[in-house]
Symmetry: D3
C-alpha cells in the first residue's frame, strides 16, 4: 500500500486489483512510446464553461507531463469575449458573417483571452500539479500575423510560427498555455482563430499529436446522423468531406488544420468529445477507439 | 563605420567622437561588474501612460539584457483597472481608505493587469528586441498569498515567493514581465500590491538591484521641498523617515520594500524618476547621481 | 484511438472508459512522486518457477522503468542450485542445518545463479522491452564479502556494498539484475544470501523502496493464522516479532533486512505476494493495501 | 623514487635505468596514438586453462584501460562446456562434424559460459584493478541471432550486432567481458561462435584493433612449417589462403573474421600467441613484430 | 548613482544625461549584434610607442571583451627590433630592399617581439581588466611557415594557420595576444609579417571583423591627397588600387590581407587611425564613419 | 607489430620482449595512480644548455601528458640573462652579493626569459608532440609580487599566486611553460626566483608532485661527500639541514620550497639529476630510487 497521499474522491474501489493491473499494463506501451514526444491540445472556450470539466482536463495534462510528454495547450475564448462585449455595451458589427474587430474590440478580446481564459487554464493546471505558464502569441514573436482584410479590422491570419519560446519552456518542463493573439512586425496585435493556430503550432513543433477537444462525439459522415461518427478518416477523405460540405461551420477550421498538420508531418490528429471525462487520457493511453482520428 | 543598421532618429550626431568614446568608456566598468547579475524593476502603471515612455523603457531593458544582465520587470496597473471599473459601471467601495476587492473586481483587475498592462509591456520589449514573456504571479506558484482581511476581500499579502519559474525563464535568456496576482494553495487568486511584490521578488532572487520607476525625482527629506531630494539614504535613515511620516502615501510601500530587500541581501535599491528618458541606463551605466539610492 | 500497437491478450475490454480513466488518474500522483527514485526488488527463485509469473514480473519492471523509476532486481536461486546438484550427483552436507559450500558447490552455485537464473530474468526483461544487464556481485567489487565460518566453506557475509557499478548502469537507463555472489579482496567468491544482499543494496543506494516478492500474502501476526496478515508494521514491532519467534524460517532474513534498511534511510520496505499478477504495479501505483509495508 | 606501492615480484631489477627509460619512450607514440580508440580482444577458452595466463592477460587489459583505450573482451568456452557435458553424462551428437545443440545442451553451454568462464575473466580483471562487467550477447539485444539450420538446433548465426550496451559501458569506463550467447526477437537463445562474434563486434564498434589470442605463434604460410609464420598479410592474400586451404580448422573463422572486419573499417586485425606473457602489451606498445597482422 | 567605483579622470561630466543616454542607446544594436563574434586587431609597433595610446587601446579591448566579443590581438614590432639591433651593434644587411634575417637576427627579433612588445601589450590589457595571454605563432603550431627565399634567411611565409590554440583560449574567455613568429615542421622559427599574419588568422577563425590600427586616417584614393580618404571600398576596387600603385609601401600587405580575408568570409575589414583615442570602440559601437571599411 | 610510426634511434632492440613487458607492467600502477594529478617541474637554465637534454626532457613531458597527467613547467634563465647582459656591455652591480636589477636589467631579463628561454622550451615540447603554451607570471595576474628591497630594484617576492590561468590551460590539455616574471597591482614587473615560484605554484595548484631538475645527483647529507646522497628526507630533517648549513647556495631556495610545498599539501617533492636521460620518467614510472624525495 502506498502511503499518505490525499485520497481521491470516488469509485475506483469497486474495481478489482486485477482490473487495475490490466489497465496499467494496457497503458504501458503507450507510455513508453510517447515519452518525449509533443502533443498540442486545442481546448475550447465552450469546453471550459463547466469548471468541473476544466479540473478534469488539467488532471489529464498533468498526467501526460508526468510520463514525460511535452504538452502545449492552445485555447480560444469566443463565448467569454462575447460576454464582456455585452457587459460593456458594445454592439457587434458583421461583414460577411464575420465579426469586425476594431481597436477597442481587439483590446477587450485580448484582455479576456489573456487575462481571464488563459489565467483560468493556467491556474487549473497549476493546482493539478504541473507548473504551467501563460503565453500569448505575441510573446517572443510566437505568432506572426497580418490583417486578413481591411473590413475585418484586427482579425489576423498567421504568416509564420516561431516556436522557439515554446521549446524553451518545454525544455524547462513547463506547460505552455497559449492565447492566440498574434502580432505583425510593428507590434500591432491581431486576434487569431484558435483552431488554426493550434494546427500551425503543432506543425511548427513537429508534434506527434494534434488534439481538438470539442463538444461533439467526433466527425460525422452525415452531419445529421449522430450514428455516423467516424473513428478514423484519411486526410484525402477529410478534404473531400470539407469540399462536399459534409463538414461545416466551426468544424471546418478544425478539419482543415488537421489535414494540413498531418500532411506536414504531425503523426495523428484527433477530434475528441471534451465532455467525456478524461477523454485525453483515454485517447493517449488506451486501445479503445475514441472520437475521430485523422491519419495519412 | 558600422554597416547597414537602421538609423536611429535623433541628435547624437552633434556629439563628437571623443564625447562618444568617453561615454562608452565610462560605462565599461559597470558593464563588466553587472554581467550576470539580476535587476528587478518595478514599472509603474502611471509611468506607462504616455506610450513614448514605454518605448524608451523597453529600449533600456533590452540594453541591460544585451550586456548580460538578468532583468525582471514587475508592474501594477491601478489607473488602468480604475478606468475599466468605470467603464463597466462598478462603484468602488472602501474600508479604512482601502478599496474592497470583491470577486467581480478581482476578475476585472486580473483581466486588465494580465490581459492589457502586462501585454503592452511584453509587446514593447519584444518590439525593442528582447524576447519577453508575460508571467502572472499565479504561474507555477510564483506569488503565494493569503487574504489581508475579510473586509477587503481578495486583496492579498505575500506569504512566500517561489522564484523557480523566473530562474527558468532567465536561464533561457528571456525577460519575465510579472503581473502581481497571487494565489493561495487552493488556487484562489488575490490582487497584490506591486511595490511590495517587486521587493519580495528581488529578495527571493538575491538580486543585485531593486529599482522603482516613479513619477518623482526621488525621495525627499522634506516632503514639501523639491530641493531636498536625497541622493543616498541608509536603511536605518529611511526607516526613521517612514516612522516620522517624512515618507508618506504611495511612497511608503516602496520605501519599506527597499529597506527590507537591502537588509535581506539585495545590494542596492533605487527610487528613480521614470519620466527622465533612459533613466535606467543612466543609473546603471554612469557615475552621475540619479534619484535616490538606498544602501546598508 | 491509439494506432497499431500489438493487441494485449485479455479482458480489459470489459472495463468501461470511465473505469480505465479512474485507474490512470489514481496512478498519477504515484507516477509523479516516484519519478527518479530507486526501487530494489528481491525476486525469489521460487517465484519464477512458473514462467508465466516471470513474464508478468518483467512487464512490471518495464513499466516502472518507463515512468522514470530506477529499478534494481536482486535474485537468489536455491531451488535451481539444488536441482543441478542433484543432477551432478552431489550429496549435500549440513552443519547446524546450513548447507556446507565447498569449492565445487560454490562453482555450481555460481554457474547456476549467474549462468541460468540471472540469464532467464535478464532475458525476460529484455523481451518485455527494457534493456537489462546481468550483474554479479563480483563485478566491480559490488558485494565485498568474507567467510561466515570455516565450517560452512564459501558461504559469505557482506562486509561492504560498493554501489558505483549499479549507479553507472542506472545512469545509462539500464536495469541491473544482480546475482548475489560476492568476493573478498583476493577475488575469492562466496555465495551470499539474496534477501540480505537486497537489503544491503537498497541501503547503499539510498533506495526509496525495498520490495520482497514471496509466495505468501504478507507477514502474519500469528504464523498459523492466514487471517492475521499485517498491512503495515513498524520497524520496532517487526523486531519484536522476530525476537518472539512470530517471524521464523526464511522470513527472518527478509524481516531483519527490512528493519535494517528502513532504519538506514530506505523510506519503505514491502513484503508482497509474488503470486498475485502485477503485484508490483499494484503496490506502487494504487492506493489499495497489498501485502505488508514496513515503515519507521 | 615513487612511494609505497606493492612491490612487483620479479626480475626487472636487472634492467638498467637507461633500458627502462627507453622502453617507456618507445611506448610513448603508441600511447598517444591509441588513446580513446577501441580494441576488441578474443580470449580463447584454451588460453585461460592455466590460471597464470589469465592473470597476466588481466594485467594487460588493465594497462590498456589505464592509458585510455576502450577494451572489450570476447570469449568462448568450448573445453569448459565439454567438461560439464561429460560430468553430466551427456553424449554429444554430431551432424556433418558439428555438434548438435539441443535445448538441454544450450542451457548447459550458457550456464558454463556466462556462469563460469565469463565470471573467471571478470574476476581476474577486477582483481588486476579495472572495473569489469560481465555481459551476455543476450543483454539489451547485443547479439541478434537466428538458427543456422534445423539439424544443428540452437547453434546461431549473427544477424545484427546492437552495440549500444557496449558503448554505454565503455562510456562509464568499464571493461565489458562478452559471453557469446545470442537471441532472436522472441528471446530464444543460441550459442554463437566466439571468433565470429568478436569480429562482428569489432566491426559494429568501429574498433581500431581486433585481436585473437591463440595458442599458435601466428598464421603460417605453410600449415606444416613452423618457420613460415607471417608477420603481415593483406586481406586479399589471406582470403586466397583460406580458399586454397592453407588456413584450416579453427583458424578459418578467425581468418575470415579478420578480413571481414578490416574490410569494414577496423584498422588492423592481429592473430597473436596468447602463451607469450603480456603479448597484448607488446603488440600494442612496442615496435617488435609479434604474431601476424592483417591489414588492407 | 552607481556606487563606489574608482572615478574616471576627465571630462565626461560636461555631457548631459540625455547625451550619455543617447550614446548608450546608439551602441545597443551593435552590442547585440556582435556578441559572440570574433574581431582580430592588428596593433602596430608604431602605434604603441606613446604608452598612453597603449592604455587607451587596452581599455577598448577590455570593453569589447566585456560585451561578449572574442578579441584576438596581433602585433609586430619592427621599430623595437631595430632599436635592439642597434644597441647590440648589428649592421642590417639588405637584399632587394628587404632585411636579411640571419640566425642571430632571428633570435633577437623573437626575443624582442615575444619578450618585450608582446609582454607590454599583455600587461596593459591585464591592467585594464581582462585576462590576456601572450601567444607566439610557435605555440601549438599556430603559424606554420616556410622560408620565403634562401637569401632572406629566416623570413617566413605562412603555409597554414592552426587556430585551435586560439579557440581554446577564447573558450576560456582569455584575450590572446599573438607575436608573429612561425615555425616549420622541424621547429625552425621564422619571422612573419604581422599584417599578413593578422589577415590569415582572421580568415582561419572565421572572424566577423579584421581591424588594422595604423598611423594614417585611412586609405586614400590619391596617395598624396589627405582629403581623398575613402570611407568604404570594395575588394575589387581595392585590388585595382594596389595594381595601379595607388596603394603602396607598408599599406600593401594590409590592403591585400583585407581583400583576401573578406573574400574568404570575414565580414568586414577596417583600416583605422590608431592615433584617435578609442578608435576601436568608435568603429564597433557607433554609426559614425571612421577610417576605411573594406567590404565585398 | 604496430604499424608505420617513425623508428626510434637506438638500442632498445637489445632488450627481450620479456624485458620490455616487465618494464611496461612495472609502470602500470603509477600510470593508474597519477592520471589526472598535477606535477610541477622546475627546469633549470643550466639544464638546457646542451640542446640534447632539452629534447629528452620534452619527450618526458609529452609522455606524462599522454598518460593523463597535468604538467606545468617552470623555468629560470640566469645564465642566458648573464650572456645578454655581457653582450650589451652592462656591468652587473651587487648589494650583499645579490645582483641589483634596474629598469634596463629587468627589461633585458624579461626579454631573455620570455622571448628566448621560454620559447626554446615551448618549441621543444611542441616538436615532441604536446601543445605547449608560453606563460609569463604577468599573465592574468599569475604571480603577484612586490619589491624585496629598495636597493635590489626590480627583484620581487611572491605575494600571491593566482592559478586560474594555469587551470584554464590544463583544462584545455595544454602544457603551460611559465617564465617567472611577476607584477604588482600597478602592472610593474619584477624578476622572481624560479625555484621559489615553482614551489608556490605547486602549492597553489595542489599538485601531487614538485620536481626540481638540477645538475647534482640529489641532496647530500655531507656537502662534500658525493656518497652521502639521500634517497628520502623528511621535511623536518631538511629544515634542520638548512639551519645547520648542510644545504647551501642555490640549493637553499629549492630545499625551503620543497618543505614549504609539502607542508602545504603537495604529496612529494623531488630533487633530481637533470643530466640523467629521462630522469623524470624514471622517477614517475619506476620503483627505482632516483635522486632525493622530500616527504612529510
Amino acid at each position: 500500500m502506498a502511503d499518505a497521499l490525499p485520497v481521491w474522491p470516488g469509485g475506483v474501489a469497486a474495481l478489482s486489483a486485477g482490473d487495475k493491473a490490466e489497465v496499467l499494463v494496457e497503458a504501458l506501451p503507450y507510455i513508453r512510446r510517447f515519452r518525449g514526444s509533443t502533443v498540442v491540445v486545442k481546448y475550447g472556450g465552450n469546453a471550459m464553461r463547466g469548471s468541473d470539466g476544466l479540473a478534469l482536463f488539467a488532471d489529464d495534462v498533468v498526467l501526460l507531463r508526468a510520463v514525460g510528454m511535452n504538452v502545449v495547450v492552445v485555447h480560444g475564448g469566443g463565448p467569454q469575449i462575447g460576454e464582456m462585449m455585452t457587459r460593456l455595451g458594445k454592439v457587434p458589427e458583421f461583414v460577411d458573417g464575420l465579426r469586425v474587430t476594431d481597436a477597442d474590440t481587439l483590446e477587450i478580446a485580448r484582455m479576456v483571452l489573456v487575462g481571464k481564459v488563459n489565467r483560468d487554464i493556467v491556474g487549473a493546471v497549476n493546482v493539478a500539479g504541473a507548473p504551467a505558464v501563460g503565453v500569448s502569441g505575441e510573446d517572443a514573436g510566437l505568432l506572426q500575423a497580418r490583417a486578413r482584410s481591411v473590413e475585418l479590422g484586427y482579425v489576423g491570419d498567421i504568416d509564420e510560427v516561431r516556436p522557439a519560446i515554446l521549446r524553451r519552456l518545454l525544455n524547462e518542463e513547463l506547460v505552455p498555455v497559449v492565447a492566440t493573439i498574434g502580432t505583425d512586425e510593428e507590434g500591432q496585435a491581431y486576434n487569431i482563430n484558435a483552431d488554426t493556430a493550434a494546427g500551425a503550432i503543432a506543425e511548427a513543433l513537429g508534434a506527434e499529436k494534434l488534439v481538438y477537444l470539442t463538444d461533439v462525439e467526433g466527425l460525422r459522415r452525415q452531419p445529421d446522423d449522430a450514428a455516423s461518427v467516424l473513428s478514423t478518416v484519411s486526410v484525402d477523405e477529410l478534404d473531400a468531406m470539407v469540399d462536399e460540405g459534409a463538414v461545416a461551420g466551426g468544424m471546418v477550421p478544425k478539419a482543415t488544420s488537421c489535414t494540413k498538420a498531418v500532411r506536414a508531418g504531425v503523426a495523428h490528429a484527433h477530434i475528441l468529445d471534451g465532455r467525456v471525462p478524461h477523454v485525453l487520457l483515454l485517447e493517449v493511453f488506451t486501445r479503445s477507439g475514441i472520437g475521430t482520428m485523422v491519419a495519412r
